[in-house]
Every structure is written in C-alpha cells, then in structure tokens.
Amino acid sequence: MSQWEIVIGLETHAQLSTHSKIFSGASTAFGAEPNTQACAVDLGLPGVLPVPNQGAVERAIRFGLAVGAQIAPMSVFARKNYFYPDLPKGYQISQFELPVVQGGSMTIHTAAGEKTVRLTRAHLEEDAGKSLHEDFHGSSGIDLNRAGTPLLEIVTEPDMRSADEAVAYARALHGLVRWIEICDGNMQEGSFRCDVNVSVRPFGQREYGTRCEIKNLNSFRFIERAIDCEVKRQIALIEDGGAVRQETRLYDPDRDETRSMRSKEDAQDYRYFPDPDLPPLRIDEAWVREVAAGLPELPAARRVRYQRDLGLGAYDAGLLTASREAGDYFEALQRAAPGVDAKVCANWVNGELAAALNRAELDFTASRVTADRLAGLLRRLADGTVSGKIAKEIFELMWTEGGDADAIIDARGLRQISDSGALEAVLREIVERSPAQVAEYRGGKEKVFGFFVGQAMKATQGKANPAQLNELLRKLLAG
C-alpha cells in the first residue's frame, strides 16, 4: 500500500438556490407532482428559446469571489450533446471553453494539517430530468421537473492525496456554498453531489496514472468508502500485472464496491459547440463589485479572526466556522455574555450545545437553548453561583424543559455553597464519622482525599464550591 500515491480530483454539482430554472420561468421547488414544473422550454418543445436567470449568474459570481477566482467578463454557453430520454433537447446547455468562474482555491484542514486545493473552474449548466425504471411494465417513466434546474459544476485540480483530504475538501465546499447562500446543500435531495476522479501512481513518479471517475456520490461517507475501495481495486489490478482502464464507475454502498458504468470510448464524444441560441454572457466590473459588497465574512477569514483575536485553538475555530450558523451563535453568545472568556464560550458551543443539537438533529438556528439563555447560564458559572458540574445539569434542564438559568437555580436550590461556615460544618461531620479514613489519610494515603470530596459533594448535592471545598478539607484533615 505504502508505495502507491493516491491522486484525487473532484467535480461537484451544486444546485443553485434560485426560485426559477436557469433558462425558463418554471419553479425549482423540490417534491412537486411529476412534470408539473416542466414548461415548454424545459421540455425542449420546438420554437422556444432559453433566457438565462440573473439569479443563477449572480450565485456563480458569489462563488467565484468567495474562492478568489477570476470572474470571466465574457463566458459562453455551449451544447453538450448526448441522447437520453430525460434530456429532451438531446443536449445539455453547459459551459465548455469559457466558463464563468476560472481558477480560485479552497483551504482544507485535516489531521495532517492545512492544505490548499486549487480549483480549475466552475461553470453554469442545466440539470437533466429523472428516469424511473420500475413499475411501468417495460417502459421507463420520465419526470422533467428537475430538467433545467441551475447547477454550478465546481472542478478541482488533482490536488488531493487521500480520501481524508477529499472528504475535507467536500465538507469545506459544502460549508462554503451554504455559507454564501448559493445552494441549500441538501444531499438527500441531490442538491450537492460529487464525482470523484481517482488514480494511483508509484511515489516519485511524475506522470499521473490512468484515472477512473466515480459518479454521483451524495454523502461524505460514501465519498470516503468509494475512494478506499477504488484505490484498492486499482492497486490490486496493477500489482497483478494489469492496467487501469479509463472509465466511469458507480459506487454500490450495499456491496461496498465500484463497478464499471461505461468505458471512455463508449460515450464521451459530446461534440461541444457554442449554443447559437445564447449570445455570450457578459459580466461587468460594476456587477462584480455589487455582488462582492453583499458577501458575508467568509469562513476562512472568520477562522483566522477567532484564532488571532480571540485566542481560540485551531480545533475550536474550525468547528465554529464549519457553518455560518455555528459562528453566528457563538458571536451572539459572546455579545450576551461580555464578561465570559471566549474559550469558555467556545467550549460550551462545541461541547454541550453541539452534542445536544446532534442528538436532536437540529441546527444552531433551531437550538432549544438560545444564545441569550446560554449566556445567562455562563454568567452564573463565571461569577461562582454554580459549579461546572451543576452548570451542565442546568443546561440539560434548559434544553429539555426550557426556562432561564436563574429561574432554574432558584427553583431547585442549585446555588453553590460558598459560605465557608456552612461548608465547614458539613465537612466536620463527615470527618467525625469516618475515623478509619482519617487515620489512613494521616498515615500518608493521599488517595483517601477523594473519598472525602465524594462524601462532601454527595452531602451538598454537588453544590459545594470545589476550590473552597479542597482548601477547607485539607485544613480539617491536617488536624
């Protein structure tokens, strides 16, 4: 395994979040009755003409700016010709020689560190319809609702060297397109799907090996597993004296294997040519400037800011910038709890809160504990009203039953006992009824100290101030 270097490039189709299709005024809403959102243009009826959607172009510009790419002042729509019943015109309108977004890059983070993945291009195109092969007694059923839905196809250079890196890139890209609100990122509904190009070569070899393309992976786990089994397949093939054939393959998650869909010779002659129905797409600088002015702070910039200005570690900063909602929640929390250390805020957002959201399958905007409420709890933690352990219990109550921290603390008597007189009385009693343990401790068995702490926490229902408890206990046990 170790003598082989893995080379991976990705092509991702992100469905753009427009209301209407890329070349027609039909709706793009998901889940409608078959063919109720397929108009004359989408059906490819004679005499119709495509008119590009300004919203789709604007989203392409947003993406290009977010990855530091060139926005082409002039780009060209081309016809990609192939025959399939869910493609009524017999060609897909795409972009070929002159795509709207050229170059750019993404930064990814893996266990191995930070890495830049170069982008080749991103181009606008229309989606095809859907074929249903079951239940039509020898026929296929065609639903053209999806035909003409705007896609941005985002293509990388072959810069990734492991399944880990490919998944990190896919996740970063998924986070970015949602961040800049050009795609809803819903992978179940097919709004974000990846084709992965995989090849292997001996370490040190300059030329790339022959690659295979694995099509239509719609989960991060499948991307990883598909790459792993495709790499194994290619290495085994070469080590057995065979050669990899350039082809398109499909990943079958049930059998955890890839299998050939079509070979390169078979079907790849798309006979691209500029679409005569569509003059060039022109984007002037003023439009680019306008779009740039409307972009939010981007994840990479936010990450740097969290690390540099707030002193957060790479791990916390990474989690807080995985989605815009996570960072927005964190910042709302900080605003509402100005006295609380940023690291404490980050710990709570990435710890208790993230775990609770995960369990409930909610995102940050739907959190049952709002940033204001969590801030209320963290203030009580910071001022010593409650201990860390009790704070976690209060958080659980806020999550399951609602309410704010102060009300819960009062209603349940959870205030930390910081009155040293009261605490000392409790401790004195414990010491008096445990002569054997006292003798052990005084005989040098330090470990017994834990026994007393446990007894004290039990007696106070966890409400003893831990620092104060330790200090008082040591004094008492010293005799």
Binding site: P34, N35, Q54, A56, H133, G141, P274, P279
Partner: protein, 95 residues
C-alpha cells in the same frame, strides 16, 4: 480530407442515425466534401482575430429570478404518445 467508412459509421452511431450499407459511400463522399470546404476556411490566417461564436447580439439578455410558468402538464401531455401517473413513458432504458 477524406473520411473512412468507419468514421461515417461512428458519426452515424453518435447521432443515433440508422445508415444502410448502400448509403455509406455516398455519405462518405458528401461529408468529405463538407470537410474540404471547412479545410479551405481553416487555411485562412485568423491570428489576432477574436473568435466569434455569435454574429448577432453582443451580450445575452438575462431575466430576473421569478417563477412565471404555471402548471400546464395536461396541455403538454395531450400530445405525448404515452403517459402514466403524470410521467412521460418511453421505451425502457437501462444504463
């Protein structure tokens, strides 16, 4: 520039055209002549001339992102050879 019979068969297959053996020589000749014409054009020096794919409008007009189409499925499907459950039916296709 002359095309082989194999080239013609391949182009026909890509275009999903059924071409009989008797038609091949004639098509081979016609297509070769068309390519000859293209070769003449290709010989012209176009260094420094920007490619022009579209002789008409200089820039495509864009439309605002608004849904303007309503559901007219019944009208569209009235001319389809076969429909069922709102789907267009076609001879079975499997990759």
């Amino acid at each position: 520039m002359s095309l082989s019979e194999d080239d013609v068969r391949r182009v026909a297959r890509l275009s999903r055209l059924a071409v009989s053996a008797d038609e091949l020589p004639r098509l081979q000749q016609d297509l070769s002549r068309i390519l000859d014409l293209a070769a003449e054009l290709k010989a012209i020096d176009t260094q420094g001339v920007a490619p022009m794919a579209h002789p008409g409008a200089d820039a495509v007009a864009l439309r605002p992102d608004v849904v303007t189409e309503s559901n007219r499925r019944d009208a569209y499907q009235a001319v389809a050879p076969q429909v069922e459950d709102g789907l267009y039916l076609v001879p079975k296709v499997i990759e």
